[in-house]
């Protein structure tokens, strides 16, 4: 499971991906693959490009160069002959259905109730019936322990509760790939465990490919089967969590882990 077997199409593939913000090069010809069902944690100092990778995968940032493939399909750009061209939104949307994301700040829609937040996209994007979407939403709410908040307004919920709803909302789209962007960073310490428990449960009961950026090293070790250490937009080290956290080989990784683990 750790590495892609030959012939198997990776869930995610970055090919020479470049991302610049103005003159600032955040990702410089980055290459990596994520196999189906992999749980990959991205670690590294802030500004190392981890979050940018997730945002590129969600098309929240425009690529500056290279290709991103989802199940081997070009997602945001493709080569037509030698020309690197943008893929129109209509085609992007087909691929985007396979990707879901949970944000640091939850980003629930305040004009909708908990249930409405969850069924909005399944009904209007996937074309599910309202009854079907609601049934699935109730299932998910139970999974994240939020059943009794079904009809609440989102700002009646605590941060941890909002994040659990946001997780249910992302899962309601049945994504093949789930992006988790520092999902516990905005939460008070005592509720972090609840949210992590929910994620652990999802990791155990589904085969969703997960890409996570987190500062919760213990959680990363529990859930992921691969850890990528980033620095200056490059992968400096790649290993299974056990090796990465107990016996890192690269100097930068050692420094970084020492700083965050204390």
């Amino acid at each position: 499971m750790t590495s892609t077997t030959a012939g198997d199409v990776p869930a995610i593939e970055f090919k020479d991906v470049v991302k610049r913000f103005g003159d600032n090069v955040v990702l410089d010809e980055l290459n990596f693959k994520v196999a189906k069902g992999d749980r990959v944690t991205l670690i590294g100092p802030s500004g190392s490009g981890k979050t940018t990778i997730l945002r590129l995968l969600m098309t929240l940032e425009e690529l500056s160069g290279g290709l991103i493939l989802i199940d081997g399909d070009p997602y945001t750009h493709e080569y037509r002959g030698d020309k690197w061209v943008e893929i129109p939104e209509k085609r992007r949307r087909v691929v985007r259905n396979r990707v879901g994301m949970v944000f640091q700040q939850f980003n629930l829609f305040p004009n909708m109730t908990v249930l409405q937040n969850i069924i909005e996209a399944p009904v209007h994007v996937l074309g599910k019936s309202k009854a079907e979407a609601t049934a699935r939403a109730e299932e998910l709410l139970e999974q994240v322990g939020m059943t009794e908040k079904r009809d609440f307004a989102t700002n009646q919920l605590s941060g941890g509760q909002q994040q659990r709803v946001a997780i249910a909302r992302a899962l309601a789209m049945d994504p093949e790939i789930l992006l988790l962007d520092e999902v516990t960073s905005a939460l008070d310490p005592e509720i972090v465990a609840d949210v992590l428990e929910v994620l652990r449960n999802i990791a155990e009961t589904t085969d969703i490919t997960m890409l996570l950026v987190t500062h919760e090293m213990a959680f990363a070790r529990d859930v992921s089967n691969r850890v990528l250490m980033f620095d200056h937009g490059q992968i400096v080290e790649e290993a299974d969590p056990e090796t990465m956290f107990t016996n890192p080989s690269h100097e930068r990784t050692k420094e970084f882990l020492k700083a965050v683990l204390g």
């Binding site: 969600m58 259905n97 980003n107 829609f109 305040p110 209007h124 994007v125 307004a153 009646q156």
Partner: protein, 248 residues
């Protein structure tokens, strides 16, 4: 004074029609202004320079050239180019374009105040552009817009008094007639201003009601059910207030 009252009573039958003309201008002008504001407001936000440029030019043009000039230009000059409109249509078009241009800034600003993260969350759920705007962004921007739109609506009502000078029989015309009949400026204009004030107040109430409703939809208002729910957990409201303050 009793003569004044008698004259006032005699002129009451005309008042209904006059109020109606003022309301027609206000409501018609506001409806047109809203359409103009939405088109130009969204136009001024697009990435394409070919849409944004002209939107900005139109906004600045109608903001900058003064309502008075616009209404008389449409009334006196436009017919010379072969477009003749009824006076009521002139008033509605002038009010709609002028306040629409102001409204466009309100729309643009309110849409811009909705956090980018809301657009991003909608993208993450793969919603299309129109769907994002209609279901996620606009309902949030709407609550921000309403107080400013309410203000513009009152300005529009006040501006509609100009219509008297392009032959319309509105509330100001009725006031002027009453003044001529009574020769009592204080009495007649006092009553005329009170009528404007009452109309403005009713419009303000209406807009406040819309604003309350919009806020409630964002879960910020207070409805009895909500209070019941909050009553169960006394810790929640202050927490909500704190989080909200922090975000805003």
């Amino acid at each position: 004074m009793s003569d004044d009252l008698q004259t006032l009573i005699d002129s009451l039958p005309d008042l209904g029609g006059a109020v109606l003309v003022t309301l027609e201008m206000t409501v018609g002008g506001a409806a047109l202004a809203m359409i103009v504001a939405l088109v130009l407001g969204f136009g001024a936000r697009t990435r394409s320079l070919w849409v944004r440029g002209p939107s900005r030019v139109v906004i600045e043009f109608f903001r900058g050239t003064s309502l008075v000039v616009q209404i008389f230009w449409l009334f006196y000059v436009l017919p010379q180019f072969g477009f003749k409109m009824e006076a009521l249509a002139v008033a509605i078009v002038a009010l709609g374009l002028n306040y629409g241009a102001y409204g466009a800034e309100v729309v643009r600003g309110s849409i811009a105040s909705v956090p980018t993260s809301q657009w991003e969350a909608a993208t993450a759920l793969n919603l299309g552009w129109a769907h994002k705007v209609r279901r996620v962004v606009f309902p949030q921007a709407w609550a921000l817009m309403l107080p400013q739109l309410a203000n513009l609506l009152i300005q529009l009502l006040k501006g509609s008094a100009l219509a008297f000078y392009i032959t319309l029989h509105d509330v100001y015309w009725w006031t002027d007639e009453l003044q001529r009949d009574t020769r009592d400026t204080f009495f007649s204009f006092g009553i005329g201003l009170i009528i404007y004030f009452v109309i403005a107040y009713i419009l303000t109430w209406g807009m406040n009601w819309l604003e309350e409703r919009a806020k409630r939809r964002l879960g910020r208002g207070t409805r009895p059910r909500l209070r019941d729910v909050l009553g169960l957990k006394p810790g929640v409201p202050s927490e909500v207030a704190r989080v909200k303050g922090g975000v805003a």
